[in-house]
Amino acid sequence: MIEVRDVSKSFGTMAALDRVSFSLNKGEILGFLGPNGAGKSTTMKIVTTFLAADSGSVTVDGIDVLEQPLAVRSRVGYLPENVPLYLDMNVQEYLEFVGRARGLGGARLRQRLDWCVEACGLVTEYHKPIGELSKGYKQRTGLAQALIHDPEILILDEPTSGLDPLQILGIRELIKSLAGAKTIIFSTHILQEVSPVTDRVVIINEGRIIADGRVGDLQREAMGSNRVFLGARQDAAAVSPLLEGLAGVERVEHLAADGGCRFEVRAPFGTELLGDLHRLAREQGWELNELHEAPYSLEDTFIALTKRSVRPGAQQEVV
């Protein structure tokens, strides 16, 4: 549905994107992750035909964005990072304006207005001037604007920025409810936002794609090993060598700061680390107060991937 191939873009002498490539199938949701200034917005502006790439190609639904920008625009609903609202209009006037500008009219426009206002929770604000709305409602109006023509493709630049947790939940639910029917790219710099909505992510940093795949796979790839926390009421000095002697164990770290006998044990993915540790503890008769696998957070993954991308050739070091 969306094909981005070797796209580069620079502003003056500053390279914003460097040979960015990724693709997205129909019905997929893609979380587009990266720190502020990584090139997320620039990529989205290129896909939505607002900007043109210096080199490379972008097709949306098989249509080249430079050859037929109008055809692309009519298929895409776009929420820019800076929510584009006319503050002098009320919600109804604004959505009608965008609907008409997108070629809707008559009963179809009515029907889409009703749907968008309902789906985005704008019923109570329908006749209020946009300038008087709270940030959350402004964001929802922006989202309703992107949905008004029932587009096949949605491109949402930071759709949850500046919202409170409850509102974030609402937007998340809305995106999830559109899953399957629509192809969606949404960007964020907050990692926790991604997992509840999708497991497909593309991570971009300093204009380069540093990871593309499922969240779980990326974690494996980035961290290289599984980790288990073990705590016991024993003498740490006696436990440590036994842990290190375990088959497959790569690293044992004594978490002395936590007090007493607590360890982080790492082994490559695929080894039965948790089971092995459990067996060892039973054989030794340790009195355990903690034994569990600790999946890496997206932050850990992100930091590992970012570091790796900053120092190319340092991959082995990280693994």
């Binding site: 900007l51 043109a52 109008l70 625009r73 776009y78 800076n82 503050l87 500008a101």
Partner: protein
């Protein structure tokens, strides 16, 4: 065309959604009417020469103030990105905005219609000259607006847009003044008179003020307007790269 109409309606309504429109129109009528009335009774001639004669200079300030918001405001609000990702050609969006500003100016100009009525009641004016004067005033506004719309696009905020617009309109006006053309001719022989004839508006406007509607003058106004609108479209298309 539908797109142009949608943009036109929104932009035209935007002028009247804020008190600025009414302040503009009142200021336009009071200043213009006031300037005219002072000379009208001194001259004791039943025509609108003085009114139309003031316009080229007066509009240098008034028109950029009307057009300053057209692009600069959208850039500030972020709606520029919305407009440029709608399935409407950039040129059509531009045309919708331009025509909305032009309609607003024509509303203000229509507010001066009591003047010819008053003149007709007091004396026996040359009606043809008044009609061609109004046509000239409309074309003059259309040209300045095209300049102002273009300069609004080049700037990020309205203050810079209005200042640049005033300067650009002033240049179009001043190179048409005979004395200025002669001075430029003194430095660069031929350039001054070329600018006076093809870029400067005074000569063309003065003909209409006198009641002469010629193809050459119409071509000048429409051509210059088209040039600035095309420049605006080119800027919109080129901005992407």
């Amino acid at each position: 065309m539908n797109g142009t109409l949608t943009i036109f309606r929104r932009e035209f309504a935007a002028y009247f959604n804020s008190p600025i429109a009414y302040i503009f129109i009142i200021a336009f009528l009071v200043l213009n009417g006031g300037l005219f009335m002072t000379s009208f009774f001194l001259q004791a001639a039943a025509d609108l020469r003085a009114f139309f004669g003031n316009l080229p200079f007066f509009l240098i300030f008034f028109i950029p103030a009307v057009s300053m918001r057209l692009w600069a405001e959208d850039k500030r609000l972020g709606t520029f990105e919305l407009l440029m990702t709608l399935p409407i050609r950039a040129g059509d969006v531009m045309l919708g905005k331009y025509l909305a500003a032009l309609a607003f100016y024509l509303v203000a100009l229509a507010g001066t219609l009591p003047l010819p009525i008053m003149v007709a009641a007091l004396g026996n004016p040359d009606v043809g000259a008044m009609w061609s004067g109004y046509l000239g005033a409309a074309l003059l506004g259309a040209l300045y607006l095209a300049v102002g719309t273009f300069t609004s696009g080049l700037m990020r905020d309205q203050i810079s847009a209005v200042i640049l617009g005033i300067m650009a309109c002033f240049v179009v006006f001043i190179v048409g003044v005979a004395g200025v053309a002669a001075t430029i001719d003194g430095w660069l022989p031929g350039v001054g008179s070329f600018l006076q004839q093809y870029v400067g508006l005074s000569g063309h406007y003065d003909m209409m003020l006198r009641g002469v509607i010629s193809l050459a003058d119409m071509t000048y106004f429409m051509g210059m307007t088209a040039i600035f609108l095309i420049l605006n479209t080119l800027w919109l298309e080129g901005r992407k790269y």
